[in-house]
Amino acid sequence: MIDRQIDDGELHALVDGELDPARQAEVEAWLSENPEAAGRVARYRAQNAGMHALYDSVLNEELSPGILSALAGRRRQWLPRGAAIAAGFALLLSGAVAGWVVRGEIPVGADDAVQIAQATPPIDTQVLMERATSAHMVNQDDDLKLAASENDDTIVQYVSTRMGEKVRVPHLTSLGYRLVGSRVLPDPGGPAAQFVFEAENGERVSLYVRSEAAGGVDITYALADDLSMFYWNDSEHSYALVRELEGEQGRDDLLKAAKAVYSQITE
């Protein structure tokens, strides 16, 4: 039995999940005998569903350059990693990601997939570059899920659970980099994974994987003042491999690593 009268406000509270379970059951029971009110509740719910149908696609859209630069413009103060890097970063982000010089003249064999990219990458690529750079610069182990070994299954599980899909972890041991660990980071395109690798001399390379493809499948080279990057896409993800800039040799080493990753995990 309904011990209180049901007012219109409670019908809305029902739609919005604001009723306690006992009252909700009462209201629902009452609605089953009051088709007119039940019809209104259905219409209110249809309004909500309609708004989602109209606007949810926005959630998957790329961010405007203005929003990206708003994010980047305040980045510098969170980079207490030494003057040199901070300065390079300021340059890098002064025009969103415009400081990245996208290069393509890689002296490699004719069968290589390295391409010259356009001077200004599309927004998706800029997001990838910005996020990968940010993740690489953090480069601390506090929130890094550390790998016990190169074939540590817990890393795969950790990343896969948070990415919501089975993720493959690349191996770069043959190139002298061992897997240190992984972290999952928020990203406008959904959870993104970062894999951190380390050489014997402590130098680090990080791979950033966004769960959103950003365009071209070619491996493209870009460099900022202090960082060097290769990026590419497959059907479902975009990838960026980042390291500190170490001259031409460093770039060629990074390319080898990029190709290794590409052949191992790109779909």
């Binding site: 219109d8 219409r43 309004q47 149908a53 606007y55 696609s57 405007s64 929003i67 708003a70 994010l71």
Partner: protein
């Protein structure tokens, strides 16, 4: 290396909310350029004040409060877009084209929302689209919870009548 972890974590929380800020702003302002401008302002303001955001409180509510304040202050932006032509519903939805009937209903809904006064649109979108609790919506809009509830009831009922062809809303809205 000194790294302010907590600041960075706050920043990541903020970034994760941007898509929702955009969805709300686009639905509210019905103009993508204005919406992105507003979200950009929110991001700048929020980053400036990130140290004021307290851990454990709701980042989303905090950001929407900032957005509401900025929007309320920006009467110029408001007056420029309040009566703009409604967004084309078909242009908004991506992917597979919906059934003809559904498309008509969506564009009717879109037009009906466009006809609502700003204060009603805010409550409807915050609760109905963004899933805010009444309490959080009240906080974000800086009005009493009772106002959220009465505004929401009135707005939904007006929408329903408009969409069902019971065109009483025209009369009710003139106050």
């Amino acid at each position: 290396m000194v790294w302010n972890v907590s600041t960075d974590n706050k920043r990541e929380l903020l970034i994760a909310e941007i898509p929702r800020l955009r969805r709300y702003a686009i639905a509210l302002l019905r103009d993508r350029v204005s919406a992105d401008d507003l979200v950009q302002d929110v991001v700048l303001r929020a980053l400036d004040r990130l140290h004021l955001w307290r851990d454990g409180t709701n980042m989303r509510t905090w950001l929407f409060t900032i957005m509401h304040n900025l929007h309320a202050n920006d009467m110029r932006r408001l007056s420029r877009t309040a009566d703009n032509q409604p967004l084309d519903a078909a242009a908004l939805s991506h992917g597979t084209p919906p059934e003809q009937e559904a498309a008509v209903e969506l564009s009717q809904l879109s037009n009906a929302i466009a006809g609502l006064p700003m204060a009603q649109r805010q409550v409807l979108l915050l609760v109905g689209l963004e899933g805010f609790s009444y309490a959080d919506a009240a906080k974000a809009l800086d009005v009493p919870v009772g106002t959220v509830m009465s505004r929401l009831s009135r707005t939904r009922e007006e929408l329903r009548r408009t969409l069902d062809g019971e065109n009483v809303s025209q009369i009710r809205r003139v106050q």
